[in-house]
Amino acid sequence: MSQKSNSVARLLLEARAFLALIVIVAVFSWLSPNYFTVSNFLVMASHVAIYGILAIGMLLVILTGGIDLSVGSVLAFCGVMAGAMMQGIELGTSVYYMPVWGVVVLTLAIGGLIGAVNGVLVAFFRVPAFVATLGVMYVARGLGLLQTNGLTYNNLAGKPELGNTGFDWLGFNRVEGVPISVVVLVVLAVIFAVTLARSAFGRWLYATGGNARAADLSGVPVTFVLLTVYTLSGILAAVAGLVLSSQLTSAGPTAGNSYELTAIAAVVVGGAALSGGRGTVQGTMLGAFVIGFLADGLVIVGVSPYWQTVFTGAVIVLAVLMNSLGNGSARGR
């Protein structure tokens, strides 16, 4: 193979997630006249927002060579807790209604706390990330069911006389026509993209995932890095939980089931290595949009939901396959 066609092949590999997205958009636009419209893109983007926010947290964890299986459950538990707080907290005989900003802050703190439990297990007790977060996944799901007795909190809009309206703002409002959830996703993506590329913490993260021992001996605070990424992943799961329950104005303990797998898929399709040390927020965002736009497109053209699952799986395997081919040709000398 000549040098030139080689570099073209390399470029195709690197831009594969982007090309896949273009292909998906082109195919569905051709199949359905409703697909290629601004309003549809905004609706699809607001669906992607949930996965996308989880995927950012997942990327941070995967970059350190770990995995966080608990995010789906944490999302549900945080949503439920937010719902419980919106419904009012019984203090003795009276019921206390918290303002919405207080609910949001406390929910984020709960997510961070659960994430920190993951972090402590992985960083201090050396429990393999897969096992630690698998356990926390079950615990968080169980706590959510216990909290609601298996039921769903409905009607979280709040009441003006109680001063706690506005919970649906996250899920329903728009800025210049763009849903708030999409704005949140974009802001978070930009913050973490810059953090990874330009801050010392970002570099520590890549070094920890690339070779934790070498990073440790180079003075990288590996334990702190691990604790922080799992905590951030928990907080981002709480953000996703708030967005989801706000979109639905209800919070159920079974929400977000298997969302952790979708988040992992987005990270992997976005070109990150599960072994750690490789991956970007930009790639992960592309991955999330590929999966989200594909799923919504199949719904719009009326493909059976069973086929949707098959297509999503095929895309994931194809992406990883290209990943290993790409890495193989880069390393094979």
């Binding site: 810059v194 801050s199 520590w204 690339g210 021992r213 070498a214 040390g277």
Partner: protein, 500 residues
């Protein structure tokens, strides 16, 4: 003479893309004799051996076995023809026992599946031949590196090969273990087995070899029977000029830089570092010599903060270091260049530049973000200071040769502006040219007031730039010498059997 040649390479060339790893090499292996292949890293030694053992195929040229041209399809094809190879990197499964590793892929079958009793018996016989007291049921992961290398050798011996290629078989062996290996090699050659031997340890190789072949930049630069050559001949042909590992730089020592008092690191049943005290002054270069397991690595890693001592004090220019983390020690000016650069030194997923700047990120962080310009300046000056040969800071770290990778690890720690630099076996697995450059760097640092402590398992390296040579044995300092000592004195103090 020709009928003595069992395997020969004729005009063998191998290229990877635009890189010519081998440029038409002729190489003979004589029946029942040892042929040693000398050459720097990247000279093409391993490539040639991989071709001869069928692991890779040459781009052009031919292989002649017993006078007939032959093409090996793969390694097992070559193994079936009696050619086996001990690779430089250990290829053992650490979770399996010694016995299972030796017979991996060639299990002895009985009527009831694998005949474990017979395998155990043969493994015991091999261990006895190698004079090792290793139970074949021990998991390989529980053995120290030297013993693992013995297992690797035993595995090669368990196949009755006519030609045995050994790529750096002694890099982790102690002097007494090397003696045993040499005895085995002599027995094998007496039985008519031909050996190809590769080693960076030139003096050692000269003891055993019958023929010497020198490679440089993919071409054969010299060939001679053992009787006609000496160490200088090899070195001259390897690097193309006379070399010198340097002499202690003329420095007036400053104040005490590093002080270690009564340092103790407990191990299983005994102390890995045993009540050890040491003091190094500014501008001084101290060499720590000792056998494998003497406690050198443990001492250096304890000082650097990776291991926690049970007793003792570590002072940097009078300031207590004991409670500080690795990161805080680096910031105060105490840096360690670890022994195993692949495992502890480099982040393989990062570029040359990112590896170089990894330990000094905070020095180019402005507020929340890193300053690209400040980072580029640090990387540039590091590349120049440690003379890394690379296509640029963005090149992947894996694209560098072993010697240049080592320089990156050293450069990374130098970039933190240390006052005391600890180096654990800085010359391990790198060629003479790179070694000389590493030592030149250390001497240069000492001239500017850096206190340097390096460990080595090659006596020759003690007698280069070190002002003081410390011999460790069982976690203690057993002797201390000035630069005018002899190799014999150092080796006797370390408890090493006198080399033949």
């Amino acid at each position: 003479m020709t009928q003595d040649v069992v395997l020969a390479a004729r005009n063998v060339a191998k290229s990877y893309g635009a890189v010519n790893a081998l440029k038409g090499v002729n190489f003979d292996i004589h029946r029942g004799q040892v042929t040693t292949l000398f050459g720097e890293n990247g000279a093409g030694k391993s490539t040639l051996m991989k071709i001869l053992s069928g692991v890779i195929q040459p781009t052009s040229g031919e292989i002649i076995l017993d006078g007939q041209a032959i093409t090996f399809d793969n390694a097992s094809h070559a193994r079936a023809r009696g050619i086996s190879i001990i690779h430089q990197e250990l290829s053992l499964a650490p979770n399996l026992s010694v016995r299972d590793n030796i017979f991996m892929g060639r299990e002895i079958r009985g009527p009831m599946g694998v005949d474990f009793a017979e395998e155990t018996r043969q493994a015991q016989a091999l261990m006895a031949e190698l004079e090792q007291d290793i139970d074949p049921a021990t998991p390989v992961g529980a053995l120290r590196l030297g013993q693992q290398q013995i297992v690797e050798i035993a595995r090669a011996l368990s196949v009755d090969s006519r030609i045995l290629i050994m790529d750096e078989p002694t890099s982790a062996l102690s002097a007494s273990e090397v003696e045993v290996l040499f005895k085995v090699i002599r027995d094998l050659t007496a039985k008519g087995v031909s050996i190809v031997y590769i080693s960076h340890h030139l003096e050692e190789a000269l003891q055993i070899t019958h023929h010497a072949v020198v490679l440089r930049d993919g071409t054969m630069t010299a060939y001679a029977p053992r009787a006609e050559i000496d160490l200088n001949w090899i070195v001259r042909n390897m690097v193309g000029e006379n070399y010198d590992l340097g002499s202690p730089p003329e420095v007036t020592f400053g104040a005490e830089a590093l002080t270690v008092e009564g340092l103790t690191l407990p191990g299983a049943g005994f102390n890995l570092v045993d009540n050890l005290s040491l003091s190094v002054r500014k501008g001084e270069i101290v060499c720590i010599y000792g056998l494998m397991g003497a406690g050198r690595t443990e001492l250096l890693e304890t000082i650097a903060g990776r291991l926690r001592p049970s007793a003792g004090r570590i002072l940097l220019e009078g300031a207590e270091m004991g409670a500080l983390s690795i990161a805080e020690r680096i910031e105060t000016g105490l840096a360690l260049v670890p022994e195993d650069r692949q495992r502890d030194g480099l982040v393989q997923t990062m570029s040359v530049g990112q590896n170089l700047s990894l330990a000094s990120i905070l020095s180019f962080t402005r507020g929340l973000f890193t300053s690209r310009r400040a980072e580029a300046a640090i990387i540039d000056s590091s590349i120049k200071r440690v003379t890394v040969k690379t296509s640029g800071p963005a090149a992947p770290i894996g694209s560098l040769s072993g010697g240049n990778q080592q320089k990156v690890v050293i450069g990374k720690m130098m970039a933190t502006n240390p006052r005391v630099l600890l180096l654990d076996e800085p010359s391990r697995g790198i060629d003479i040219g790179a070694k000389a450059e590493v030592f030149r760097l250390l001497a240069e640092g000492a001239r500017q007031g850096l206190a340097v402590v390096y460990s080595t398992s090659e006596v020759g390296e003690c007698l280069s730039i070190a002002h003081r040579i410390i011999v460790m044995r069982k976690g203690r300092i057993v002797a201390e010498f000035g630069p005018e000592t002899t190799k014999e004195e150092i080796m006797a103090a370390s408890g090493e059997a006198k080399a033949a």
